[in-house]
Every structure is written in structure tokens, then in C-alpha cells.
């Protein structure tokens, strides 16, 4: 099955994607391959914070893990709806998600 994702980049531009739910990527990897300016320095270990996003709307997401909490504690521009894109796997469960890429650290 394909799922729909909506992403607002750092310039405020709106992008819509349809991707196979079993592509095996996380949201950081998606943003990177779509060249939306996300660095993903640590490769997805919740260690650098360069992939912070704000969840705008959509289905409820799996909870924030300990490593992710720890990183969010140290980042700038954190909001209540902040998440690290690398910690959210693409699957049927996130169909319809809309998020905004947070400013650079």
C-alpha cells in the first residue's frame, strides 16, 4: 500500500509524497532523499538533532523514546510537537501525516 505524507520545508514550501509503506525508510531518510535540506548527521541515532520536525496533523504517533527525549532536551527551537524525524519509521500507521521541518540548529 502507498501512504501519503505532507511536508513543509524550511522555506515554507509545501510538498506532497506518495510512498510505499514498506519502503523501510524513516522520515529523516525520506527528507534527505527528497533533498529538503535535512542533514541527518548521525545517520539516525537520535544523536545530533539535525532532523527535528514539528508534527502538524495526522494519526497519533508512537511515543518518544528515551534517546529522543534526551536529544530534544538539548535542542533549540523545541516545541510541544517536536519530534526527531529519524525516530519515526514510515509505515501504514503514519498515513496522512503532515509535518514541518524545524529551523537549523
Amino acid at each position: 500500500m502507498d501512504i501519503q505524507l505532507k511536508i513543509i520545508d524550511r522555506q515554507g514550501e509545501f510538498h506532497e509524497y506518495e510512498i510505499p509503506s514498506d519502503c523501510g525508510l524513516n522520515l529523516m531518510e525520506l527528507c534527505k532523499s527528497a533533498e529538503l535540506g535535512v542533514e541527518g548527521i548521525c545517520g539516525g541515532m537520535a544523536l545530533c538533532g539535525s532532523c527535528m520536525i514539528y508534527i502538524d496533523q495526522g494519526p497519533e504517533l508512537p511515543g518518544v523514546g528515551e534517546d529522543e527525549e534526551k536529544m530534544l532536551d538539548t535542542l533549540m527551537h523545541v516545541r510541544k510537537n517536536s519530534r526527531l524525524a529519524c525516530q519515526i519509521k514510515i509505515s501504514e500507521k503514519i498515513n496522512g501525516l503532515q509535518f514541518t521541518i524545524a529551523p537549523n540548529q
Binding site: I41, C42, E69, D73, T74, Q105
Partner: protein, 336 residues
């Protein structure tokens, strides 16, 4: 002017460190400079205790152990280090000699520069506060270099990680008053530090404010106070001579962008023959460079360093090629 170095390496990450070894085999001596206070680059700053699995010959090795091993491997070649200083200026004179300057005024000269600057300089994350920059060096510090500076002062620290906790605890007996402001309810530092902090908070030695952020800095010439906004509460104004936001470090390309090097998306373009840049005598190796097919891996940086020093040798020895020898044949000849 001080003596000429063979190779100056900007960046003491794994790739800069291994360059010392390959240069040493050719009899070239290196001087490394890094903005961080210790060698190791990303390995020590971001993931010291994570195992790496793709270093040839090491089925598994902790990042910090790899750095220690590299330091051991290069020690016979007596590299010199300038740590805790950022290279801000690089110029070339008509004789082809480079002069490099750091933010602390250290000046070094050489015929060859190896830029192994990784993702750039690690710089402190700065909170978004209106007049933050105005108060830098006037009460706002991101790095604690001399704890005694805070003797008998009122200080406010922001952050919830290990460094915020450790410094708050350390400064208890030095500062006259300490407030620790944290955005969340819980602290995620080492359990022992969290326990200690709670003890000091309960005994009134540290003023801990959670679910809160510093939102304003006040003062005319020097910092005099901060405003702390607490979630769902009234903002509090605190007297403070120092505000120390401790939110960790993040890499930024920094001054390198202004040196006239060919760049592509924050990386330096190189010729894969020898990782030379558009400026003869300057090479770029490791994460900082880019070329078709580039992979940001330690292993690839090691390869780049090995080829690079061949050309560096030629520049230093008036066009002469180095002779190729196996280490098994020559062994390691320590330098003085």
C-alpha cells in the same frame, strides 16, 4: 616568524589523525589544530561509546577506542597539537607559503594545508534570545574555561543534560547563587548527577526551575539579570551576572567558507587524483570534501589521506616523487 611546518592539518578528527601517520611514513611532520579541546572529532564529540563495525580489521571497536588507537599509532611521528582554537584565516604569499591564524591569535606557516574539518567546527548551540550576542563576553558564556571567574557571582545555567548538571553541581561552592533552568520536568543526565542535583536543590543550594526557559537578558554594559518564563506561571526576574546556556555543540562550516575554495553544498570540491582543491597546496580530506561517489566514512577518509600525502611530499620536496615502501619492509622510524 616561527619555523615552517611540513603539513598543517585543520581538524583532529580520525582523518586528520591518520594523515599524521601516512605523512610520517614519508618523513613529513604534522601540526594539527582543532576547535575542540581534545582530538577525535565527531567520534569523541557525538558518539564516543558507540561501537563502529566497518573499520577494516576491527570487527567492532568503540569510537573512543579508535581515537585512542589512532593517537597511539601516530605518536612515533610526534605530531604537534593546537587544541581549543579555531582556524579563522588562511592566506598564501607569492612564494607559495600559507599563513594560518586562529581565533586566539596563534599563527602557523607551511607549504601544505590539509583541511580535515569534517562537518565543520563544533560550536555551542545558542538559544534564540534577542540580545544574546550583545552580552557575549559581557556575562554570557557557552563554554566554561575558568570556573573561578564565577566566584561570588550570581549565575543562571540553562540545560538539562550532563554538562548543565555537572557544572551546576561543580559551581555550587564557587558562585554565590546558582539557578538551573530546564525546559522539561525531568533531568536526563547521569543518574548519580541527577541525585546530587536533587539533594542540592532540596537543601536550597541550587535553585532549580523546571518547565521554564530564559526568555530575556537584562543589563546595560554587562549582564545584570535574566527573565525566566515558567509554563503556566508568572515570569520571574532574577539577578545574574552570568548566564551560561549549556545545550551542547553542533557543527558549522564556519570560516572555511570564506577562503576561496570551490564549494558544493558546504563541502569542498576536490580532484580525486590526490584530493587537491582549486588552490594549489590546499587539500581537503574526510567528511569535508565532495566528489562524485563520495561516501562520508572513516575508511574513505583514511584512503584519501594516504593518497594526499604523496602530492604533499612533492610540493615540499620540489617536485620529487616519494619512493613507495611497505611498512613491513621499513618499519616505523620515530621522529625527534
Amino acid at each position: 616568524m616561527d619555523n615552517l611546518k611540513d603539513i598543517i592539518i585543520i581538524g583532529a578528527g580520525p582523518v586528520g589523525l591518520f594523515t599524521v601517520f601516512e605523512a610520517g611514513l614519508l618523513g613529513l611532520k604534522c601540526h594539527l589544530i582543532d576547535a575542540l579541546g581534545a582530538p577525535g572529532g565527531q567520534l569523541n564529540e557525538i558518539y564516543p561509546k558507540k561501537p563502529i563495525y566497518d573499520i577494516p580489521g576491527h570487527p567492532e571497536i568503540l569510537a573512543s577506542d579508535l581515537v585512542d588507537n589512532l593517537m597511539k599509532q601516530i605518536s612515533p611521528f610526534k605530531p604537534e597539537f593546537t587544541l581549543g582554537e579555531t582556524v579563522i584565516e588562511l592566506t598564501k604569499d607569492n612564494e607559495g607559503i600559507f599563513t594560518l591564524m586562529t581565533d586566539q591569535g596563534t599563527m602557523l606557516r607551511s607549504k601544505v594545508i590539509a583541511i580535515a574539518a569534517g562537518l565543520g567546527c563544533f560550536e555551542p548551540r545558542k538559544p534564540a534570545l534577542a540580545n544574546l550576542e550583545f552580552f557575549e563576553k559581557k556575562g554570557v558564556d557557552y563554554i566554561i574555561r575558568d570556573p573561578l571567574k564565577y566566584k561570588n557571582s550570581k549565575i543562571v545555567i540553562s540545560g538539562g543534560g550532563d554538562s548543565a548538571l555537572d557544572w551546576a553541581i561543580y559551581l555550587v561552592n564557587i558562585a554565590s547563587e546558582i539557578t538551573l533552568v530546564h525546559r522539561r520536568t525531568e533531568f536526563r543526565g547521569a543518574p548519580e548527577s541527577v541525585r546530587k542535583l536533587m539533594e542540592l536543590s532540596n537543601s536550597g543550594k541550587i535553585n532549580v526551575i523546571t518547565n521554564a526557559e530564559v526568555t530575556q537578558l537584562n543589563g546595560s554594559e554587562h549582564l545584570e539579570g535574566v527573565v525566566v518564563s515558567v509554563e503556566g506561571g508568572q515570569p520571574q526576574t532574577l539577578d545574574a551576572q552570568f548566564y551560561i546556556p549549556l545545550f551542547g555543540l553542533t557543527p558549522k562550516l564556519g570560516p572555511i567558507a570564506g577562503w576561496g575554495l570551490g564549494l558544493d553544498k558546504n563541502a569542498i570540491q576536490v580532484n580525486t587524483l590526490d584530493y587537491s582543491t582549486n588552490i594549489p597546496g590546499i587539500f581537503a580530506i574526510g567528511d569535508i570534501n565532495t566528489y562524485p561517489g563520495k561516501l562520508k566514512l572513516i575508511l574513505c577518509g583514511f584512503h584519501e589521506a594516504t593518497l594526499m600525502v604523496q602530492s604533499a611530499y612533492k610540493i615540499i620536496h620540489g617536485g620529487k616523487d616519494p619512493s613507495f615502501k611497505y611498512t613491513t619492509v621499513t618499519g616505523i622510524k620515530p621522529m625527534q
